[in-house]
Symmetry: none
Subunit: 414 residues, 2 copies
């Protein structure tokens, strides 16, 4: 990837990310992604370094008409090739301008100049054609950096060619298992006995606070075996993680909760103190959530807890607003008020202020009320305000998921 | 940057982008950004290659507790250093777990192992400390890949150290002016007359949907002149953008709103339909928000609007729940119920369902009720569900800000 904007923090890379995803999906291994600025010697050095390492190198950027577009010249210099003007390409560029009623600016002539041995990759969506060059046993593909043009040329020309040149066929399947309730190291401890290589698979861990994702990749020559291996590894992980995998691939926790509520024709209402509306916000991020979510109350003050939910004043006075019994009354109150199947009550100290020796920042009580009773549990979470809000909301939503998996409130009382 | 997720197109790089921006801002030149996967030989080779090229190398990722975290071992191998267990660091990690009432999982012990010559960079926000190592005249900084931890260690430890070691002095000051309510091109049009070069300054535009940020950078050898130039440019922009700059640098809109409410000793309550709790969530992201935010109601159903806020059923029947008068009743209802100074009412269609020819997806009504009356206004926003929720919440919060700037409700009735 070539461009000053990439090494100055001006533009976040999107091209390498796109190509790496597409290549990985097709079973290619991307060994390195390198970004350099618009300096000829840096580009030259990057090209020569890549030639030593890889069978295929895809280069993007620096094919434009301006003085900071140096890739073509750097490639010719690096590989000891002359630069030649390709008349037919100049005519194509001129024709592109003419179609828009414009004369071709002189600077665009540069885009018709290529290293002598280059094979042109036509660009139907822009002025800069790409080109392909072989040097020292390595194939180089040079593509424009404009994302729309890059994607087009990559998809239409580069990827099909790489696939057709590949010896044999390689199948690739992946699955992301989303875990909540185990730390990354707890997951690693539990999966210690699993040897993914036995299934031609690889595991990787992706922390997505407060979630942890485990990605399983299976590769092989036989499509059926790849699918089967993936399923086997997934099954083992599911067993070892005992219900802590809450979703697979792109599904979110709030979507899972929504799906379970819909399947059971159940509804949910929430009374939030320390999460301040985050649970309601997440629930309502799901299209169609009005089918099972009717109201949420953000009861930040004690008065709001008493007025709206009927939490007894003396209970708050005796035990504090941050306590299990208050969470229970909140859950029961909002459930009754809204006539919902389930009610969640959440109270805690998100910080940075409000903590005490007895109840430090991160102290949280969550309660769930259902037709079969109410249960509350206390937590002591870690982190700053955002994190406490985040992990509390996640824990509360996960309670609803587990309510359905665990046959009701009884499961929480153990 | 080290991690399979980066070379497989799973996770777009954010760390290199962040650090490159911060380094460029401070006048450093970033020559290369390299990403490799979790393979020890690739990491080793990348480290040795970087040592030949750069005076300073920042490495991120691969310091975690799992088997695919290989950076420390690769660094030791590359630079011919032994790996040693640092007891004091192990105790720190153990203590971090103990604080949360947890035992340290065995896999975390790995995070207390470092190359013998390493200088530890403490990590107050996570379990993986960073470390610094010198080899062949090059300084290597190894940081964890979790973005929050990386940013913290980079800002607090790496950047100050690089700046203090730099020879010569270049002063650099920047300011980010956060704009809401003008598009990027509207801002550019209004700033057309401003020539930042006259003040040795540069402007850049950073779209941060739904906000637009204008960044002013001033550089020079004289600290006083740099500061003065920056202030002059800022003043001109503030005037030209007429109150649409809602915050400067790191302050958020919800912090500005909180600050204004506190200064005026005013309180705010919100009744949300289509934003589903997002406004309450944002308000309560600010520490100390309980001083001015007492409650929020997420009234997703019509029944909740009627039951909790006294919105007349026949009003909803006549005009629909998504209408100006219903927004007004919601704002007035929640203001009275909570005895707050101001009440916000928000109703709309976030999509993707629920739209009609008359009221398409993105139709939103916002109302603000205060001691001086109530005003409502209708909007037609663009975008998907997330975007409609986001821009609606932003508009509603900005109303509160402008209430104080514009001398009350009358300002909205013009």
């Amino acid at each position: 990837m070539i461009g000053n904007e990439l090494v100055s923090g001006e533009t976040a890379d999107a091209n390498a990310f796109f190509m790496a995803g597409a290549l990985t999906e097709k079973g290619f291994r991307v060994a390195r992604v390198l970004m350099v600025g618009d300096r000829e010697e840096d580009i030259r050095e990057a090209l020569l370094g890549a030639r030593e390492r890889a069978a295929t190198v895809i280069v993007s950027g620096g094919l434009g008409p301006t003085s900071d577009d140096l890739t073509t010249a750097a490639a010719a210099a690096a590989f000891g090739e002359r630069l030649v003007l390709r008349e037919e390409i100049r005519e194509q560029i001129r024709a592109r301008f003419a179609k828009g009623g414009l004369e071709m600016p002189r600077s665009n002539e540069k885009q018709a100049v290529f290293p002598a041995g280059a094979e042109i990759i036509p660009n139907p969506v822009g002025t800069a054609p790409g080109f392909c060059l072989r040097s020292g046993g390595t194939s180089f593909f040079f593509l424009p950096g404009v994302p729309r043009e890059l994607r087009h040329l990559f998809r239409e020309s580069v990827l099909p060619r790489l696939e057709s040149e590949r010896k044999g066929s390689l199948h690739y399947r992946s699955r992301v298992l989303k875990v909540f309730g185990f730390t990354e190291s707890a997951i690693a401890d539990r999966l210690r006995g699993l040897n993914p290589e036995l299934f031609s698979a690889e595991l990787s861990y992706l922390p997505r606070y407060p979630e942890n994702h485990v990605k399983v990749v299976s590769r092989g020559a036989d499509a059926g075996a790849v699918e089967e291996n993936l399923a086997k590894v997934e099954k083992i992980i599911m067993e070892k993680l005992e219900g802590r995998v809450f979703a697979v691939d792109r599904e979110t926790l709030e979507e899972v909760v929504g799906r379970l509520l819909k399947e059971r024709q159940a509804t949910l209402a929430v009374a939030e103190s320390c999460t301040g509306g985050l649970v309601a916000h997440r629930l309502t991020n799901v299209p169609g959530s009005s089918d099972y979510f009717e109201r949420g109350l953000v009861v930040y003050s004690n008065r709001a807890k008493t007025d709206l939910l009927g939490v007894p004043e003396d209970l708050i006075a005796r035990l504090g607003a941050v306590s299990g019994p208050v969470a229970e009354k909140m859950a029961e109150g909002v459930r009754l008020l809204s006539r919902s199947t389930l009610g969640l009550g959440i109270t805690g100290i998100a910080g940075p202020g409000g903590g005490s020796a007895d109840k430090p920042v991160g102290t949280v009580f969550i309660a769930l009320a259902g037709p079969d009773g109410t249960a509350a549990r206390g937590y002591r979470f870690w982190g700053d305000r955002d994190q406490v809000k985040g992990i509390t909301a996640q824990t509360a939503l996960d309670w609803v998921r587990r309510y359905f998996l665990r046959n009701g409130i009884a499961g929480f009382k153990k």
